[in-house]
Symmetry: C2
């Protein structure tokens, strides 16, 4: 099995930096606080328009033309519309299946958020908060969502698989990213309950989730679990016969490599990719099919300055106002890093680029020079990313 | 001079069929009635989100990668925000200039609507109404808008030109299209004042507009006028020395050719293109540079049924529910018609495809089979339209 895919990030799970207009005129930093900052019908109008416009039929045609075969769709825990004030999105996911089936693409449904958040990232539902795993009723709620997803979409021809939960943060990543500083909590009282997730909890949760999903989803479809940012920790996991078509998902961003000391040069990045990413994936591929479910070409070198691990103006870190690299220089860097990373992911079972599209305006808003590399559409059009 | 361009239709001037979500839950058929049917802040939220998402920086990157060099941007008469309840859009146009200049594209600003409408089309501001030219104060208002456009954008590096007014309807097209039936007026009292525009009026208006635009826009930028659907009527127009860089714009759609009796077969279309369009353009190119400012690949043959001149479910005419053509058949038809039409437009001075993008969902909404040919993005991705 090999997968060549892209994430439809910011469609059904919002990220402010990818779509500032949605948050216009509010001080909300994430999708949790957005409905608190807007009149109800304005919130609804913004969300509905965004969903109708950000991804549409034509994007599935484009993704197919890029040579890709699969899309990973981040979905929120409130997809079924039972968590007010948030608005459900089964209608959009239903449409996505029709488009995928029409144009010959497959869908990986990725549960990207949990109530109380599983990681405290801005994209985890609520910035700076990580309390989900501490609340048994919310853990059960998420298992229920997974079961309902399998029930609704398990038999769809266009379904590739279901990913249990995106990026649960274990202690290591919590400390490396310094989550509380990087994503300050709006509610400091709530933040006092923060606790990184343990591997022990995750293992148990993943096994339960597998069972609940398999109640409705046939064995030929994949159940995907994220490594919790500890790729090597899963060698003794789900070894039993009953677990079929389970895929291990690891996310590898060059900005994280930089935080781990990777030199900010083409040679430095390529060396890191070949000597760190690739052998690890190769090793784990003996235990599970391994995908790199999120990665991109973004790096500090092509930005023209050290981004300190991908921190942006939203983290209070100024980016460059003007390009300092020539287009040809950037192209060379990105092409080399695309080649090296694609080779690493193909040592496993393929990849999903993060992300298909972003609305971030690098020309009219200041500090975003170099951030267009997160947008696969632009990468393809600029010739940075090879046709697949 | 040769131009290879595309229209950014439905961005700043709305068309319901291209973007149903904007009109969701209302019975408005056009952008005039939309704000009357929605609470003010919902209207504002929908419009702002639509403008932020429908076209963004990444689309300029894509258009450049398609090999095109120019975009035609339809703008409404209320661009300057002085016609409540409509919301101005200079901010969006300003951004477009920055993007165009960054990525090496040029912009043709096309005044697409006039108060009271110049054509009664759904895209002319108010369906079924054509009263603008009868109101001297509104004629003056439009001249003022053109002057302000030239003042604001005349010196921009990214400006290719300004088009005075899109598709003023003279008696011939009014009768051919049977505008009052095709676009029923919501206000029948108002419709009683309808009057197609005369060539005499247009000539005088265009001359005045030229002078007002040239007050601020240098002579190397183009002033474009639409033929009023009478391509051959302009041989004795603006022959005086003072008129510099004036371009004649004609719009040629195969659905109109069908209404004029063109046979619905590849041979029929190609024959019509070569024997009607091309000689006419060649003849008029002796008087003005001639562009085909709107055209597309859409035709009844590839739809699989006679669309009666491009009538859709919005006109109460049912389209097909299911594809009847094979993808390869469609591709052959569209490729042949792209080649023939591009050759015809190049007998003049080039073209602008209508349109870059539409959100119309041919999979999940019924009756739209074949309408994806209006979307250049999809045409390129499907391989129907050659890389320029």
């Amino acid at each position: 099995m090999k997968v060549k895919g892209v994430n439809l990030g910011n469609w059904l799970v919002l990220e402010k930096w990818m779509n500032p207009a949605l948050f216009d005129g509010t001080d909300a930093e994430d999708e949790y606080y957005l409905p608190q900052k807007l009149p109800g019908e304005v919130y609804e109008a913004r969300i509905k328009m965004h969903r109708a416009e950000f991804i549409s039929e034509r994007d599935f045609v484009t993704i197919k033309a890029m040579g890709l075969d699969t899309v990973r769709i981040p979905i929120p825990y409130f997809i079924f519309g039972d968590r007010e004030p948030f608005i459900g999105c089964t209608e959009e996911v239903d449409k996505a299946f029709s488009w995928a089936e029409k144009y010959g693409l497959q869908i990986l449904l990725d549960l990207h958020t949990a109530p109380g958040s599983q990681n405290g990232f801005d994209n985890g539902g609520i910035s700076g908060i990580c309390t989900w795993a501490e609340q048994p009723q919310e853990v059960e709620f998420v298992l229920g969502v997974l079961e309902r997803l399998a029930e609704r979409y398990g038999m769809r021809k266009g379904l590739w698989g279901i990913e249990i939960l995106n990026e649960p943060a274990t202690a290591e990543i919590w400390d490396t990213l310094r989550v509380p500083e990087r994503y300050p909590a709006a509610d400091q009282e709530l933040a006092k309950k923060n606790k990184p997730i343990t591997l022990e909890f995750l293992r148990e949760f993943y096994c339960k989730a597998y069972d609940r999903i398999r109640l409705h989803m046939p064995e030929e479809k994949y159940v995907v679990f994220h490594d919790g940012f500890q790729l090597m920790a899963w060698k003794d996991f789900m070894r039993e016969e009953k677990y079929k078509n389970v895929v291990l998902d690891t996310h590898q961003y060059l900005m994280m490599a930089e935080m781990h000391g990777c030199e900010q040069s083409v040679e430095g990045y390529v060396k890191y990719i070949k000597e760190v990413y690739e052998p690890a994936i190769r090793e784990m591929a003996e235990y599970f099919p391994v995908i790199c479910g999120e990665w991109c070409l973004f790096n500090s070198l092509a930005c023209g300055h050290d981004t300190k691990g991908g921190q942006s103006v939203l983290n209070g870190v100024d980016g460059l106002q003007e390009e300092v690299m020539l287009p040809e220089e950037k192209k060379e860097i990105y092409q080399a890093l695309a080649e090296a990373q694609l080779a690493a992911w193909n040592a496993g079972n393929g990849y999903f680029y993060w992300s298909y599209k972003l609305l971030t305006d690098t020309v009219n808003t200041s500090g975003w020079v170099g951030w267009d590399a997160w947008d696969l559409g632009r990468c393809v059009d600029f010739g940075w990313f090879p046709k697949q």
